[in-house]
């Protein structure tokens, strides 16, 4: 029989990933604020840290927050689900150091102005290969620790497995442009890039949703829901969307017309998810009110609201005749921000606080008011942020219809840009309260653990001395 400490030997690595992930979020938000200021004050750091650098830094860091927080959760949950220690502890450490090292190089490249120049993956392509390599020990640990029996596995294990598998596929696919066959044909290049990136977002959603479902199961104690046919129906619907839904981004690309038809049909299947959310809305609200005191539950409830808002928006912008107008406006950004902050970040913090609650309950309990404020400020400001993006998007559509020039559109959008810059700062304040709590709780935990270890060493050496004397 294994003792808890030997079974959970990977917890230290999980916490290191956790600290790394919230550091990504902190710096990612900071860069986002600088980018927001550059919208309302264009000369701000224009020569030293232009938007050409702040945007990729912001995008890379916040995407890293999502992936890393999901990985931190998995390193923590895997030994508990499998009831055995992590398969390759050294591998988890290699993953951590490789991950941190590649991040350092990517951030340095952006600051120094070395770019690969591809949307979302704006760093030099070689670093993409290192990212892929860093995921190998993670995948080995996932599959060999769990040894999943897919016939009976709950839906979150399917979801995580899919997320990992498709991360490898989509990241590799996003570098097909290195081949001349893709690079010299703009239609192929852009279509494949949209395809790879669209599915890559699906892959991290699978990781995050799996985490959310697992946390929900642990809190509710209901282990039937994640094995029900309904749960699997929605998993397969999600998987279908991961594989084929990306095409609604390419209505304007002159690819074959059937690519758009497939994309449109698949996008509309999201109506089923929307319908289901509306159907169980009352139940969700009642549960949320009942469990409001429970921080992870509160975060999951906020994520539910954002799923509803973003799904509605996604369906609207997937209709080809509306997509023509919304494309190239901040309405697309509203969808991206609602998803990454409203859904992914809420679900991931539910997982982070679930872990912290397990590890250091007294400090967590004392921090509850701060966390509560953080969640509230983040969500209220995100609603303002989201609305400001929709507002500037609608303004751009109307200006485009009036054939106005870009400079005039930007000028008229200033009030909306101001709202999004200020509400962006408020989001930073809200999330900072959560980040700060995580740092504080983990720091106290590590300090305590160190002092216990030091005490043990002292007792051990005293014991040795007295033994030698006798």
């Amino acid at each position: 029989m294994l003792t808890n400490s030997s079974q959970y030997v990977s917890d230290k690595t999980a916490k290191a990933f956790l600290l790394l992930s919230i550091s990504y979020l902190f710096f990612g938000l900071l860069l986002g604020i600088i980018g927001g200021i550059q919208y309302i004050l264009p000369p701000f750091l224009k020569e030293q840290l232009a938007f050409q650098k702040t945007r990729p830094l912001h995008v890379y860091l916040v995407i890293s927050w999502i992936f890393t927080a999901a990985q931190a959760g998995l390193y923590y949950y895997l030994p508990r689900i499998a009831n055995r220690p992590i398969y390759w502890l050294q591998g988890a450490r290699i993953h951590f150091y490789l991950h941190a090292l590649v991040s350092f190089f990517i951030v340095a490249c952006f600051f120094l102005g070395y770019f690969g120049g591809r949307e979302y993956l704006e760093f030099p392509p070689l670093l993409g290969a290192v990212i892929l390599l860093s995921w190998v020990p993670f995948a080995i640990n996932f599959f060999f620790t769990l040894k999943p029996d897919y016939k009976n596995a709950p839906v979150y294990i399917w979801s995580w497995s899919t997320g990992i598998l498709f991360f490898f596929i989509t990241l590799s696919e996003s570098y097909l442009w290195l081949l001349d066959y893709f690079h010299t044909n703009i239609v192929r290049d852009v279509t494949v890039q949209w395809k790879a990136l669209g599915s890559m977002v699906g892959s991290w959603n699978m990781l995050v949703y799996g985490t959310g479902m697992y946390v929900m199961e642990k809190m509710s104690g209901d282990n039937k829901a994640n094995r029900s046919p309904l749960a699997f129906f929605f998993y397969f619907l999600g998987l279908t969307n991961l594989m084929f839904n990306w095409g609604h981004h390419t209505y304007i690309v002159p690819a074959a017309p059937w690519v758009k038809t497939v994309a449109y049909v698949i996008s509309m299947t999201e109506l089923l998810i929307l319908g289901y959310i509306i159907m169980k809305w009352r139940k969700t609200m009642t549960q949320a009110r009942k469990n409001y005191h429970n921080i992870p539950y509160r975060l999951l409830s906020y994520a539910d609201i954002w799923i509803f808002l973003n799904l509605s928006l996604a369906i609207v912008i997937s209709v080809p005749s509306w997509n023509y107008y919304t494309h190239g406006t901040h309405i697309t950004v509203a969808h991206a921000m609602g998803t990454t902050i409203g859904i992914n970040t809420m679900l991931l913090f539910a997982s982070v606080f679930y872990i912290i609650q397990n590890e250091n309950k007294p400090v967590f309990e004392r921090s509850k008011p701060t966390i509560g404020w953080g969640i509230l400020i983040t969500n209220v400001s995100l609603l303002l942020f989201w609305s400001s993006l929709l507002g500037s998007g609608l303004l751009k559509i109307s200006a485009k219809l009036n054939n106005e020039v870009f400079a005039s559109i930007m000028q008229k959008s200033q009030p909306w840009f101001k709202l999004f810059a200020y509400s962006g700062i408020a989001i930073f304040v809200g999330l900072f309260l959560l980040i700060f709590t995580v740092y504080k709780t983990l720091a106290i935990y590590i300090q305590k653990k160190q002092s216990v270890e030091e005490e043990l060493v002292t007792i051990h050496s005293l014991h040795k001395v007295s033994e030698e004397r006798t």
């Binding site: 232009a50 897919y150 690079h183 998987l239």
Partner: protein, 125 residues
């Protein structure tokens, strides 16, 4: 067993669909050859090297601080001279990247090529 079968069917469909997208679904009527192809390729390389995607979009890919460039070349309000001016000196939002004359020509050639492929874009209402 049903779950595994459904997964495999979906995954196979995805693999087939991807192959078709890589070939027939994205064929382009415009084939560049010789020095023109070289210049476009150099322009594309510069577009990537200077991370123009951070502020500009091509077919929806990219940031929003600067204007969409897919049809900028044939846009009566913009066009070659207008773009050249920005590339030479920057603008209120755009830094001056100190491009050389041949680099500016290469970027313009690339944007001209992109514009020539934008048939769907131009046919929309």
């Amino acid at each position: 067993m049903i779950k595994i079968a459904v997964f495999l069917i979906l995954f196979t469909s995805y693999a087939i669909y991807s192959t078709v997208i890589y070939s027939k679904g994205t064929e382009s009527g415009i084939q560049l050859t010789g020095p023109q192809a070289e210049k476009v390729s150099q322009g594309k390389y510069l577009y990537e090297q200077y991370n123009c995607v951070a502020c500009h979009q091509l077919y929806g890919l990219g940031g929003y601080l600067g204007p969409e460039l897919t049809t900028a070349y044939s846009d009566p309000q913009r066009g070659e001279i207008y773009m050249k001016a920005f590339l030479q000196a920057g603008g209120p939002r755009m830094p001056n990247f100190h491009f050389k004359a041949d680099e500016i020509d290469a970027i313009i050639s690339y944007l001209k090529y992109v514009d020539s492929t934008a048939v769907t874009y131009k046919s929309m209402p």
